[in-house]
Each structure stands twice: as structure tokens, then as C-alpha cells.
């Protein structure tokens, strides 16, 4: 096999890496990863809580962790969880760090309670008791393709992160309302808007517990009282707190 390093399509990069086939493979993997994530994000909009999950929640083994995300683009209200189309991809993705990942976030599917609550920015996760770290990616119109890239773990690691505490026997938890801001950077070839996070605005957390209580009581009648446990901002350099899962408690 001969390797032509002086082929016109070859170029030298820093760190000793040469050639274009690495870039081609990286591109193909990025597209494949984006496709998988797009399918995942698309399926999420139809996902409803299953009977098994509902039983786990009623038994206190898992909790419904409700989060609201509010978004603006150039100061104007923007629906956070848009329905993906050919020209529009989701604006948000989430990563969740657990005991198993020692706090490092991994892409996690979020769910909606209904079409109406989706449009209002409400999502939920079902989590067992423990400590979790939620990484929030977005608002970004290329969040899917970025998360599907080879260096997606770095993308997740650098995203803003919050700590979520799920106590034992909790069933319904509201963790806060995130206020995010994006900036428009023109349009794509087929009309989709290019949105990137507005770096000048720190993501803040608001408490809308009354709204959250109304939503959870409507969808989880008889599951008991909602607890408001606002998630705490985690910054790089802060210790990562982990707690064993119930089945392998250290005590």
C-alpha cells in the first residue's frame, strides 16, 4: 500500500496529524451521530410516561423531576422545544451525570407530559434517588450535530451544569425554570434560522413552583405533594458530589 502524503487533498495539521480521510470519517460520523440524535429528539416529543415508570414513581423508587426552560432569541420569546422539521432541528439537548459516570454528563432523553406543556417549555426526567448533574446544551440550532461529533464529550463537559438532588421516597420534584437567551446569526440555505447561545447572558434559574404544582397535580393525581428542590449551579473547580444508588449503598 502506498501513501501519498503530498496528494493535493492532503494537508498538515498541528499535533502531527496529516490527511483528509480523517476529516471525511469525522464528517460521516458526525452526520450519523446527528441522525441518531435527531431521531431520538424527534421520538421524545411522542414519548409519554410508561406504566412501568408510573409504577416506579408511585412506589417511590423513582421521581418525576420537572424542569421548565424559557428561551429568547434576540430578546424575543422563542419556543424552547420546537418540533423538529427538515429545516429546523431541536435547540436543546441535555446530559445527565450519575454515580455510574461519576458526575460526567451523558446525553439523556428528556420527555414531555403533553403537547401543551411541551410548547410551554416543560420537560421531565424520571430519576432514582441520588445526586445528578444536568448539563444544558442550547439554545443552539446545531446542538444535535455538535453533540453527535467525535468530540461531543468535550461539548457536554463544557456546557453549563446544575446539580439535582433526588431524595429517598420523593415522587414529584420541581427543580426550577431555566432562563436562557440565544442570538440569531442569519439563516441556513433552506430557511432554518441559525441560533447560538448568547454568551453575554448567564443562564439564570427562577422558581415557578405554583405553575409546576398545577401541572404535576393534573398529570399525576394521587402521587402526593410536589417538592421544590431547586437545582444548584455547578462550576468547574467545585467538587462533584456523588451518592451511591440504593442497590449498592455503602452503609
Amino acid at each position: 500500500m502506498s501513501f501519498k502524503a503530498n496528494h493535493p487533498r492532503c494537508r498538515r495539521r498541528e499535533g502531527g496529524s496529516i490527511g483528509t480521510s480523517k476529516g471525511v470519517w469525522a464528517g460521516l460520523l458526525r452526520v450519523a451521530g446527528a441522525a441518531v440524535l435527531l431521531i431520538l429528539a424527534g421520538c421524545v416529543s411522542q414519548a409519554v410516561i410508561t406504566e412501568a415508570e408510573r409504577s416506579a414513581v408511585n412506589a417511590g423508587d423513582k421521581a418525576v423531576v420537572l424542569l421548565n426552560v424559557q428561551c429568547t432569541t434576540d430578546g424575543q420569546p422563542q419556543e424552547a422545544f420546537i418540533q423538529p422539521t427538515f429545516t429546523r432541528e431541536p435547540l436543546f439537548l441535555f446530559g445527565v451525570g450519575t454515580f455510574e459516570t461519576v458526575g460526567e454528563p451523558r446525553i439523556a432523553a428528556h420527555r414531555y407530559l403533553s403537547e401543551e406543556t411541551r410548547r410551554a417549555g416543560w420537560i421531565y426526567f424520571t430519576l432514582s434517588p441520588g445526586v445528578y448533574y444536568l448539563a444544558v446544551l442550547g439554545p443552539d440550532s446545531s446542538v444535535i450535530s455538535s453533540a453527535g461529533a467525535l468530540d461531543s464529550q468535550k461539548y457536554l463537559r463544557d456546557a453549563p451544569r446544575w446539580r439535582i438532588d433526588v431524595p429517598e421516597k420523593a415522587r414529584l420534584i420541581y427543580v426550577g425554570t431555566l432562563q436562557t437567551a440565544g442570538k440569531s446569526h442569519g439563516e441556513l440555505l433552506f430557511g432554518g434560522e441559525i441560533i447560538r447561545p448568547d454568551g453575554g447572558n448567564e443562564v439564570s434559574l427562577r422558581n415557578d413552583q405554583r405553575l409546576a404544582r398545577d401541572i404535576l397535580s393534573e398529570h399525576f393525581q394521587g402521587a402526593g405533594e410536589m417538592q421544590t428542590i431547586l437545582m444548584k449551579r455547578w462550576h468547574r473547580g467545585d467538587p462533584v458530589i456523588i451518592r451511591s444508588q440504593k442497590q449498592d449503598s455503602a452503609r
Partner: protein
């Protein structure tokens, strides 16, 4: 055919069929990839049953990870233990590069209910083992864990 010729032939066939080669080169652990190393000398202040949690933070800083229910502090750092050269080719083009091979170092300090040091280990985590499994094994005091400078309260 002797083993050297066989290995060369095997590698050549592999290269022809898969167009890919990986070559790990071990190096000295002289490059810090992440975190801040903790040396054995820095652990001289740790005395089981005597050193307190506050003293640990005072000497070593905040831990990277706190395993809350197990009362364990974990300090992480990563050193380069080798370089992996790779090359792949097909038809008229190809690529090559190199990547650091990491050794994961940890200092684990477990405290008792009075927040005094119960035991501590300066150790490495095998690449093939997940972090969570390693922690569970360490907590159980698994003899399969290789530990350099393990100290336990008698």
C-alpha cells in the same frame, strides 16, 4: 516460519486487509494531562484516626469528587504513560496521528463518623474498568485492586 517472520507477515496482511495500524509507545510519566498530582511525600500529614477532614482540605485543597454516603474524598489526576501512533490508508489517501495514552491516578481518603481519616490509598485505575466499579471495589477493600501506599486504620 519463525515467530518474527510470522508477526511481520501477520501485520502486513492486517495492514493490507484493514488498512490500519496502531502502535503504542510507552513513555515516562512526565506529562500531566489533567488534574494536580499528589505525591507520596504530600501524604505524610495523613494519620489514621487523627487527621481531620478540615486538615485534609487545608493541605490538599478541595477534592475533585466527594462520595457522600461513603464519606470518601477523591483527588484525580492523569499522567501520560505512552503515545499511540495510528495510521490508516485506502486507495490514494490516508491519515495518521497520535494520541496520549492515559494513566488514571487517584487519591482516595475515607473518613469515619467523627470525620477523622479512616484509611487512604494513592492508586491507579485500570483503563478497562469503569470509575464507578473501581470505587465500589475499593470501598469493599477488594484485594484485586493494586494500591501503592495503601494505609488502613488497624
Amino acid at each position: 516460519m519463525n515467530s518474527g517472520a510470522f508477526a511481520l507477515s501477520f501485520l502486513s496482511v492486517m495492514l493490507l486487509l484493514e488498512s490500519c495500524i496502531l502502535l503504542p509507545i510507552p513513555t515516562e510519566e512526565d506529562k500531566i494531562l489533567a488534574g494536580r498530582p499528589v505525591t507520596e511525600a504530600q501524604l505524610s500529614f495523613l494519620v489514621p484516626k487523627i487527621t481531620t477532614r478540615e486538615e485534609v482540605v487545608e493541605h490538599l485543597g478541595n477534592p475533585d469528587i466527594i462520595w457522600e454516603d461513603a464519606r470518601v474524598f477523591i483527588y484525580n489526576w492523569e499522567m501520560r504513560q505512552g503515545i499511540l501512533f495510528w495510521a490508516a490508508g485506502a486507495y490514494y489517501s490516508g491519515g495518521a496521528g497520535m494520541k496520549d495514552i492515559t494513566r488514571h491516578h487517584l487519591l482516595l481518603i475515607q473518613f469515619d463518623e467523627q470525620e477523622k481519616v479512616q484509611r487512604f490509598s494513592r492508586t491507579t485505575r485500570p483503563l478497562a474498568q469503569s470509575y464507578a466499579d473501581f470505587l465500589r471495589g475499593w470501598l469493599k477493600g477488594s484485594p484485586s485492586q493494586s494500591e501503592a501506599g495503601s494505609h488502613r486504620m488497624e
